[in-house]
Amino acid sequence: MPDVNAIANRVAAATPPSLGRAVRGLSDRSIAWLFVAPTIILLLAINIFPLIWTIYLSFTNYASNRPNRAVVNVGLKWYQDILGSPEVWAAMQATAHFVFWTIFFQTLIGFTLAYLIDRKFRGHAFWTTIILIPMMLSPAVVGNFWKFLFQPQIGLFNYIVSFFTGIPPSSFEMLGSVTLAPWAIVIVDTWMWTPYVMLICLAGLRSIPDYIYEAAEVDRASKWRQFWSITLPMALPFIMLAVLFRGIENFKMFDMVVLLTGGGPGSTTELASITLKRQAFEAYRTGYSSAFAIILFVVIFGLANIYVKALNRVKQR
């Protein structure tokens, strides 16, 4: 075998470059395309082709339960309907409430936890792993079992709240009350995703070199001053990364909330994705929901663009 290769090399060396590569096998350029093409083709077929189809449908009156009806071009009607629809604005408001408060609590608790874990006490690696478990679980299954914990009479959550506060456990319904349900979904999401923010913040804290703190000690900067002038600014790109990603994920939240509240009571926890699902798969307003999907796409695409820039900034450090 080596002999054959040696001969091939000698032949390759003696022939013009293009022919030499052919002797050695495929050129780097064709290998590059050969390696990338299947991925791109799959994504074109499963993501881009359907996306273009969605754009087309958003201008028509097509309904998926009436495939044989004549398709009529309706122009921008659906887009106008959506932007003027109180239902959509209510969903956007519920989504904004959910996104804002989950990010607020997750960043606060996540950063605090990361800061504490960075004290490197004995056994911190083990406890970090335990803390990480919730974020790996299936959101749907999590939503389903939290529904059990939130049951008014029998649920563990109500029982624990009543144990510490003395409020009777059957006097409040986390999922059935208009005021509490939006907070119930925030609680579950915070339980599940705080570890995510914690892990990224921890990476940020660990990226700060010791010599900066040593220099600050020499300059007699207080611990308080060190935290505000060194720790926080240097960990900030990482915190931003976590916040952006949680923002994107929670903006499109569906599974956990659908199993927890189903969008109710009324439509108090009906997030954008749940409204979209109702319109597309229960009301069969395919054209309308396609237009809504495109609007969500545009928002996510913008956020994703910022996210990738943030990723690259963190990477360079």
């Binding site: 091939a8 390696f35 299947p38 791109i40 993501n47 803390i131 499109k252 699902k277 695409f301």
Partner: protein, 318 residues
């Protein structure tokens, strides 16, 4: 102050007291965060009346009823009918008869669980195979518009699943992939391949180019160098990537509930539909949840060193 006293340690080392406080708070959080999970695992071993008792029962007689109910369907029968059957066969038969019921047949949990396995492993295999080739190409070759292509690949993962599901639903209906394992495998492959490319690119970037170059000087072609030098070097990264893809496909709900209804349904849309007489059968739900989540808990522990990479698409390594 602290700098003057502690000479053996660096001035930036946290003090013993601050460490103790940190340890206390972190352990407290870890224990509290595990309570919901422990509760659902415990509920699986309760009887249905125990599971909905007030106050909630922390101490209880363990029962197999949850697991039995998870795997069986049951029908109510008269005492005479049950007595005529003779002695119960097996533990599940016994607990079922205590509720004046008999086992009618197997439930759908096992087939749904198997569907989850087939779809998760199938899509993971495809996504990692496609991903490793693309990642190598992005890592080693000059590809025109590489940054834009990589962004395009990642952006497909950011899309809201419901929005993607609308055209996919129509498309699958046209080409006959509705409610099929193949359809789900292709869809999950498309979602996972973006993660696979980004993660694997990070892992392959870390393998020195000199390895392949040395192999190619020894007479390997580029392809041989890829298969015999790069792939073995990237083995850990490939394994970590595969586990991430596996977990995503295992956990996914939105596509599964919209695009599968019977034959190809996976476990996440099935578990919430487990009902007993007069409401949710919480012990059976607990049992189904336990069996479904245990593999993820194990994988999380195995993956702990690579988790950070996985959740940041390979950008943050340590």
């Amino acid at each position: 102050m602290s700098g003057a006293v502690t000479t053996a340690h660096s001035v930036v080392e946290p003090s013993a007291t601050s460490r103790r406080i940190a340890a206390f708070l972190v352990i407290l959080y870890a224990v509290v965060t595990m309570v919901p999970l422990a509760w659902i695992f415990a509920t699986a071993w309760k009887t249905p009346p125990d599971s909905i008792s007030y106050p909630p029962k922390v101490v209880f007689d363990p029962s197999l009823e949850g697991y039995c109910n998870l795997f069986t369907t049951r029908t109510r029968q008269t005492d005479e009918y049950i007595e005529a059957l003779g002695p119960p066969q097996g533990a599940c038969d016994e607990v079922t008869r205590k509720r004046e019921m008999v086992i009618a047949g197997p439930s759908n949990y096992l087939p749904r669980f198997v569907n989850s396995l087939i779809i998760a492993f199938g899509s993971t295999f495809l996504a990692v195979s496609l991903g490793v080739f693309s990642a190598y190409a992005f890592s080693r070759f000059k590809i025109p518009l590489a940054d834009d292509l990589l962004f395009f690949i990642l952006s497909t993962r950011m899309m809201p699943p419901i929005a993607v599901a609308i055209p996919i639903y129509l498309m699958y209906r046209e080409i006959g992939l509705s409610d099929s394992a193949l359809g789900m495998i292709l869809l999950y492959t498309a979602v996972n391949v973006s993660l696979a490319v980004w993660l694997l690119k990070g892992f392959i970037d870390e393998i020195p180019r000199e390895y392949e170059e040395a192999a190619m000087i020894d007479g390997y072609t580029r392809l041989q160098a890829f298969f015999k030098v790069v792939l073995p070097q990237a083995a850990t990264g490939i394994a970590a990537t595969a586990i991430f893809c596996l977990i995503f496909a295992w956990n996914e709900y939105a596509f599964a509930v919209l695009l599968t209804s019977g034959e190809a349904q996976t476990a996440p849309p099935f578990i919430p539909t487990i009902i007993g007489e007069g409401g949710m059968d919480w012990p059976a739900v607990g049992a189904g949840t336990t069996l479904f989540l245990i593999p993820i808990v194990v994988f999380t522990v195995l993956l702990r060193k690579h988790l950070l990479r996985g959740i940041t698409f390979g950008a943050v390594r340590k």
